[in-house]
């Protein structure tokens, strides 16, 4: 077994029922657990973009990308590089039993530029946007106060520069050839 690494895939698909399960079954078929998944419509409402984080080895992830590319509802697939921009929104509900802990939590929030979006007796809810490193760091710091609940949106990612997933490449043309419908 070769070494597993975390890969991020961006997948443009038809915004239709059933497409998500078609995409996800390719991962489950190989026994891969999707580490993180974020889906939403793009600037074109008929097209959704999925960002999928998966632990896999190089050969398997390339095979996965190719098998995704040949699916009719899939428009294009990009295997993102390490340099890509990755962001995630995390909501964290932290216990603050007294004013002392509350100000300590607020101080940490400040340092991480997290916003406090709800205050209640005994707790605060923070929202933070960042890559894994940043969100993991604040999560670790807040643990000592007691995290009551935590939710992540899943990583969304874009490649840096002006290249996009919509760019036509020779390889994309090759995959489209197989989708020829005449």
């Amino acid at each position: 077994m070769s070494t597993l690494k975390r890969y991020t895939l961006a997948v443009l698909v038809d915004n239709e029922a059933g497409v998500l399960s078609q995409v996800s079954r390719l991962f489950s078929r190989k026994g891969f657990n999707i580490e993180s998944l974020a889906v939403g419509p793009t600037d074109n409402l008929e097209v959704s973009r999925m960002t999928i984080d998966v632990l896999a080895d190089q050969d398997m992830v390339e095979l996965l990308c190719n098998q995704l590319r040949k699916m009719i509802p899939v428009h294009s697939v990009n295997l993102l590089t390490d340099a890509a921009i990755r962001r995630e929104l995390v909501l964290i509900k932290v216990a603050c039993s007294n004013s002392e802990t509350r100000s300590a939590v607020m101080q940490i929030a400040n340092i991480f530029r997290a916003s406090i979006i709800d205050v209640a007796h005994g707790g605060l809810t923070l929202a933070i946007i960042g890559d894994d490193e940043k969100t993991d760091a604040i999560e670790n710091l807040l643990k000592e106060f007691g995290i009551l609940e935590l939710v992540r949106t899943g990583i969304v990612a874009l490649e840096r520069g002006i290249t996009t997933i919509n760019d036509n490449t020779k390889e994309k043309g090759e995959f489209n050839y197989g989708k020829n419908v005449l």
Binding site: A17, K170, K172, G173, F175, N176, N180, L182
Partner: protein
């Protein structure tokens, strides 16, 4: 024109030129059957004994004619009975449109009677599938489904229609097939790419690179895969092989893509491949595979497969490139078109010394003959001698399948119909009926074993009723021969659950279905029976008794180097 969904569906089948439908009715699909009855003159419905038989028949019809097969089934068990047939078609890239109905929309998701999520179940075994919940979308979806089934790399598509859609009214406008691509979702699918789909050409640079590789090669080998058959590229392939003077190994799915009697043929390649094919593969310096996905039955050990060669794949499906075997070059495109372009550019070559080397090995297995019992080779020889050369052969799966492929020579695409990828026992009879319906003037032979035949012999009733005479030839060794062969060679002769010392009597069975049958034990009896079968134009079952310990030779076990024959 206002009409019911059921009528729209049948009209859409006519748009596609469909004249034959295989199927089995049931509660939810009754509206469609009710309408189909009004179109008896245009569309012939073949009622099988079981939905699986209908699926295989539609598949056999599609493979033998090159047209899209159509198969109907009702919801729930009707739909799930199709699944083996759908998977068989999927693995062998056969274009079949499966139409099932589901319970009415208010009942969906409530575990209603005969309800099943068939679109969910068939997701991994269809090219694409649809759940139709609005009658307004029906025509558009049927048009898209047919286009997808037959285009690119063909494959099965399933349309599941909820029952109330078939009874709802909608405005239907007929649309000739040529217009489909300019309308509805199909038009969008085409617009998605900047490519011009109408004249897809292989990349010129890629072709030139291969031409250069061919010029540099001294020991080229071609593999004729299923893509040559599906793409009906046999003429172009023949010209190519002749021009570059390369030996041709044929895969199971490639049978019929290259004439089996051509002197360049080395025979089958892979697990039961000939010595010539496997040795050529191991020693070539350039391997060009056309429409071949290097399955684990061909590239038994991907790491050592064609280890001296630069490997080139020509395929229509980009996802097949580098999937099983790492390649040095590939050309994406339709086999017919790519080969035509290559033929214009390659320089003719002569590789006599390489051919001398390759053909110093056997292209066919030699068997010891002359005992009292009938041998597989003798059966094959008798059939080859007596049956018309253009006979269509369907097989089931196992030893008889390998013998049928090793010892018969297939001359044109669609002549050999076999479940190569999925290895479906019980495929052959349904496929034979479908092939006979698609090719009424040809002799159709169904080569089977006693294990496989028992699985779906219920379709003898279909064969009899529709007067589609098929000659079934049972290689009867009273065992699951291929499994027994593995038990002999790999499991120390531990014959667990493979011996078939049981009924039925196949001759009596044929008789019970109103067909003719004979049991034969030697060449003379077989010749007489086959002559009778060919003359009588009735369905016929010939039960050939062979020895329980017959083996398919040569054999290389899975995962081994392709020249590590465990039996010669």
């Amino acid at each position: 024109m206002m009409m019911s969904g059921a009528k729209v569906l049948v009209e859409c089948l006519l748009e596609q030129g469909v004249d034959t439908v295989f199927g089995y009715p049931g509660g939810t699909i009754l509206n469609i059957y009710d309408e189909l009855g009004n179109y008896e003159k245009q569309i012939r419905h073949i009622l099988t004994s079981h939905e699986q038989g209908a699926a295989h028949a539609a598949d056999g019809y599609a493979r033998s004619t090159g047209k899209v097969g159509v198969c109907f089934a009702t919801s729930g068990p009707g739909a799930t009975n199709l699944t083996t047939g759908i998977a068989t078609a999927y693995m062998d890239s056969s274009p079949v449109v499966f139409i099932t109905c589901n319970v009415s929309e208010p009942l969906i998701g409530k575990d209603s009677f005969q309800e099943v999520d068939i679109t969910g179940i068939t997701m991994p075994i269809t090219k694409c599938n649809y759940l139709v919940k609005s009658v307004d979308q029906l025509a558009d979806i049927v048009r898209e489904a047919f286009a997808i089934a037959r285009s690119g790399r063909p494959g099965p598509v399933l349309i599941d229609i909820v029952k109330n859609v078939t009874s709802s009214q909608t405005d239907y406008t007929p649309l000739p097939r040529e217009e489909h691509a300019r309308n509805g979702k199909l038009a969008k699918l085409i617009q998605r790419s900047s490519q011009d789909f109408r004249t897809p050409e292989p990349d010129s640079g890629d072709v030139d690179r291969l031409v250069h590789m061919i010029a540099e090669s001294h020991r080229p080998l071609l593999i004729c895969g299923g893509g040559v058959v599906v793409g009906r590229a046999d003429k172009e392939f023949l010209e190519f092989a002749t021009k570059i003077d390369a030996p041709v190994a044929i895969t199971v799915m490639g049978g019929g893509g290259f004439k089996g009697r051509n002197p360049l043929t080395t025979g089958m390649i892979g697990m039961h491949g000939s010595q010539a094919s496997n040795m050529a593969c191991d020693n070539c310096d350039l391997l060009i595979a056309v429409g071949c996905r290097f399955s684990d039955r061909v590239a038994l050990d991907p790491a050592t497969f064609a280890k001296q060669a630069k490997i080139v794949q020509i395929d229509i499906d980009r996802a097949e490139i580098d999937k099983n075997v790492k390649t040095d070059h590939h050309i994406i495109g339709d086999a017919k078109r790519v080969l035509a372009v290559l033929n214009e550019r390659v320089t003719p070559a002569n590789h006599q010394s390489w051919k001398d080397y390759v053909f110093s090995f056997k292209t066919e297995t030699e068997y010891d003959e002359g005992g009292d019992t009938l041998t597989p080779k003798q059966i094959s020889s008798v059939i080859a001698k007596l049956a018309p050369e253009d006979s269509i052969v369907t097989t089931d799966v196992g030893q008889h399948q390998m013998w049928a492929i090793q010892h018969f020579h297939y001359d044109y695409p669609g002549q050999l119909i076999t479940s190569g990828g999925f290895g479906t026992m019980g495929f052959g009879l349904g496929a034979a009926i479908g092939a006979k319906i698609g090719n009424p003037d040809k002799t159709v032979l169904h080569i089977t074993g006693d294990g496989c035949f028992r699985m779906n012999c219920i379709e003898l009733a279909t064969e009899q009723y529709y007067k589609t005479p098929v000659i079934t030839i049972v290689f009867n060794n009273h065992t699951l021969g291929m499994v027994r062969q593995w038990q002999t060679l790999i499991y120390d002769k531990h014959y667990c659950a493979t011996t078939l010392d049981r009924g039925p009597d196949f001759v009596k069975l044929a008789d019970a279905y109103g067909l003719r049958g004979r049991r034969v034990t030697n060449v003379e009896e077989l010749s007489a029976a086959l002559t009778d079968a060919l003359q009588c134009q009735e369905g016929y079952v010939i039960d050939c008794a062979i020895d329980i310990d017959e083996m398919v030779r040569p054999m290389v076990t899975g995962g081994s180097a392709i020249t590590d024959f465990i039996v010669d």
